[in-house]
Symmetry: D2
Subunit: 313 residues, 4 copies
């Protein structure tokens, strides 16, 4: 780890083309950092700010497939294939003019609608846009209801070795996991598949329920501050999360049971490798004390986290 830790900034760009819509190798660094450095990233929202009022129609405002823009890549000096990045989420502050939060129904996208994959003969559900005032004090849903501000990074991942994966998809590299546990105070571990790791992030949410039911959380532009360390020789198959309370493995696949199998199997691997468990003991024990977070049921892969409280480690 570096002795002098520098703070870098990735400011908002005027040109939407300076954002990435895939997470892959071979892209020029947006910033190069040393292990231990801090980066302040001005993220834009998942729509690139294109849904400006409740009169906008998502089907008209969006420029597919150029959605879910991510900032980056952040290239970390010395990170090599077989290492992991440890991304500490320091803070996530809302940014931009009010109403700066957006949720909406996008045609044929979401958990309770036909989609391009769960294809059906139904007409689409109506397009509804809801713009919301967001501050760190909360999200004003309506006159009566304020939702707590519980922000997290929806999309964050490292470049796969050879693929460039659309930023909408979560998989082994992280990506659009939409996992509420990736918020301030947490550390996210991601695999390093290419020299420098090539970290991208964006799509921050001011709040989100389990499974991100309609597919659109309270989307917001933010100033997100992270610091990044390198864990040498820690080859990860799936992303992992650590907080003060728990450790969690994160699987992304379809059907949902496969995402959960991958998450729990990876957590068992972790318990065996680093916490002194026998494989079958871990299997029996997690049966009694494991925790499951369904992060999303709407993306190209569904994402599920499996966790264990640190009190048992």
């Amino acid at each position: 780890m570096a002795y002098v830790m520098t703070t870098h900034r990735l400011p908002e760009r005027d040109d939407p083309k300076e954002y990435q819509h895939t997470i892959g190798p071979g892209v020029d660094p947006a910033v190069e950092i040393e292990p231990g450095d801090t980066v302040e990233v001005e993220t834009v929202d998942a729509f690139g700010g294109r849904i400006e009022s409740e009169d906008d129609k998502p089907s008209e405002a969006l420029d597919m497939p150029h959605i879910n823009p991510v900032s980056g890549p952040i290239v970390v000096d010395g990170a090599e294939k077989g290492d992991a990045l440890a991304v500490h989420i320091e803070s996530i502050e809302p940014r931009g003019e009010q109403p700066r939060g957006t949720t909406c129904l996008v045609p044929y996208f979401g958990g309770l609608t036909a989609t391009d994959r769960t294809a059906m003969l139904h007409d689409p559900l109506p397009e509804i846009v809801k713009k919301l005032d967001v501050t760190e004090a909360g999200i004003e849903w309506d006159d009566d209801i304020t939702i707590p501000y519980e922000p997290f990074i929806g999309t964050i991942g490292t470049a796969p070795e050879i693929e460039s994966i659309q930023s909408l998809a979560p998989f082994k590299h992280g990506g659009n996991m939409d996992l509420p546990d990736v918020g301030p105070g947490a550390t996210l571990y991601l695999p390093v598949n290419t020299d420098g790791g090539h970290l991208y992030l964006g799509d921050c949410h001011a709040a989100q329920g389990d499974a991100e039911l309609c597919g659109v959380a309270v989307e917001q532009a933010t100033t997100t501050t992270i610091s990044v360390d390198v864990v040498d020789d820690w080859a990860l198959e799936w992303p992992r999360v650590e907080t003060d309370e728990f450790i969690m493995s994160v699987g992304s696949s379809r059907p949902m049971e496969d995402a959960l199998r991958a998450a729990y199997a990876d957590l068992i691997d972790w318990l065996v490798a680093d916490h002194g468990f026998d494989k079958y003991d871990a299997y029996l024990f997690l049966t009694q004390v494991g925790g499951v977070r369904v992060a999303n049921m709407v993306d190209p892969n569904y994402t599920v986290g499996a966790s264990i409280s640190k009190e048992y480690l």
Copy 2:
């Protein structure tokens, strides 16, 4: 509701044939009660007590398909098709000689093994049995670890109109949901499909993690005390749960995303019918504040609960 509430007892039976292994209509009542009455049920564990030591092999000890015995049916006077039963879980006390808790690996059963349905060419995982001392103070996992005693009813359901469903399977009638929220203090709502409702229960767990990973929680015999009311003219498609903190709809299906779709869609129906929500508002709002509990990933159907905090109702 009755003015005089009676307490009934369903004691442990000596003859295993006096337990049921399906949940269906047309079975003589084990007890007939009035709405509002209380029933103390001496449940046996999911193995009918057949796994008595860590030397027992589940594959030899069990008498398939006669597993997961349930007590009942409890027949409720006046309950008619189209009503719901409201089952209040009063208490769940462990019962029997120590070590009275059991968890184990059953060949080709569980979340991280090939099964009869997710069929593969692998040899089975080893059969491992773990017997555990269980008291209301906790479950002694080993010398270092005590797991909190957080009991619930694993299998509880009402007779379908025409089917008799094996007690291992969860579905619209309830059944083997393995849902940790069905514990003391909660009310479970189940559909009445036949006169009297015909309620069965058993398979209590002293503790269980989300998804019941290996398929066998800390199984225990109990004295479980419930009281039962009838909600007139409340036709339920799926079971529902209410606690002091939340209301929850419970879906059981495969793949897991279908269980979750059913749960969330039913919760939206509930919010619209009884809590003044517009359908799409409920969809957008649950996206931000909904909670998901994965109950099991191991039974003939997977079970998932979708909930909303009462603070929003």
Copy 3:
């Protein structure tokens, strides 16, 4: 096998209550036969004949859950748990007044619609009924198109040991497989789980494409003639089919890949047990020559057959 083979008749019943809507044990025999005997069964269609014109609405005409009526049980003398029934399908002749074929769209039922399990917020698709003239010469779809008459038994199964499964559901006992290979000339093998086997059948189709897309084939009343033998000591996990051309194992589950895994794994078991294959040779060989039939994608379980040509046996 009996030396004198008798032909029995199960004629159409006037009272719909004389049909069964579940497949289970404990039902009085509709007919008792000797192994080798023949039974002529006058089946009614999957709607019990309730959809009589194109003006009928399925949602109004049907009396849920009393749909998909089956005839039986046919009880076979000497059949014991652990045996198999060999059901030879001799002929399937259409029956009743023209237009005697029916297909239709039933709300929230089918392969390209939201359903009770794949629950969504869409309004139902329109209810459309199509009545069709059916003869052994073909099905008159419209003025230009005649579909070949290729009949089969949609629902056929033996009683499980303890469950009574709704006739709409396929599983290990057979049931509503909707498998076009169960037609004249084929032999269907089903497990015997109870003394006498208790065989039920109905829901014959005049034609059906792979996967039974909308969930309703060309439904018809028939005179279906079968003969039934007993195969001693042949415990089947899943139904199996034999024709002049191939042998096939039939899996029913969700998601569809699990149905296919079960089918192929059972076929490997069959090749190893009865055809001299090594397990992994069979796995490699079926990879090159196996055949797959998707029977239905609409029922409570999806059904898929995996087969191998007899030229390789």
Copy 4:
């Protein structure tokens, strides 16, 4: 279409780095052609020829993720986003020294094994390699069995607009569909997402059963001859196939029912747009006459084709 049709050659390369392992935009053309031109492609097998004997272990011989090499991109002059490529498969001839066919079991890959996604605690199945003599007269499986030579292109696709998808994965762009219908005489239609279309192909199979059970067909190096036309203004969501007998839409997703839903829904779109069908008529009609081919149950997405006989068009 061009009046003078040229034949191009893409010969085998000595340097494995001259093959692609992703299908994406932004790669320099391997060859540029005019619409109507023919290309002879010397494909290598899915292992890049690295499994040379039955003593090789796939886990040691392969250089993940550099597997399933494809040739290309073939860039077609004038093809623009919104067009389709029509790829006519002219011939597929085996190439290289005998035994030039390869099938094998790869650890944690296949239809009846735990995988990285359907993660379990089982040890891997054994690694078995089978080398096979392949000619156009057939594949010598053993002394008794010859499998017919029925070749097809396992992996063929066009660049997505922004993603680079690993060559192992099938999706809307085609890719590793492992669809036996993509053989000599067939025309495959693929979407054009980028100027020139950027067509890649490889991974030819000498034979394969439905679903490619163990994940490895009879893999072979070939000389594959295709000709390529451009269909203007025919924006495809999913690949389509046409032969003398049928038209077919091809879906790739998980779970398998979603692949089939996508395929059948796309086929209905095709029937409505180009063949005069009403949407619901097509739905009802395909229910009676549709055909389903399960292409693979082993790749990152499962692939299923839905077809209708041309006699009905």
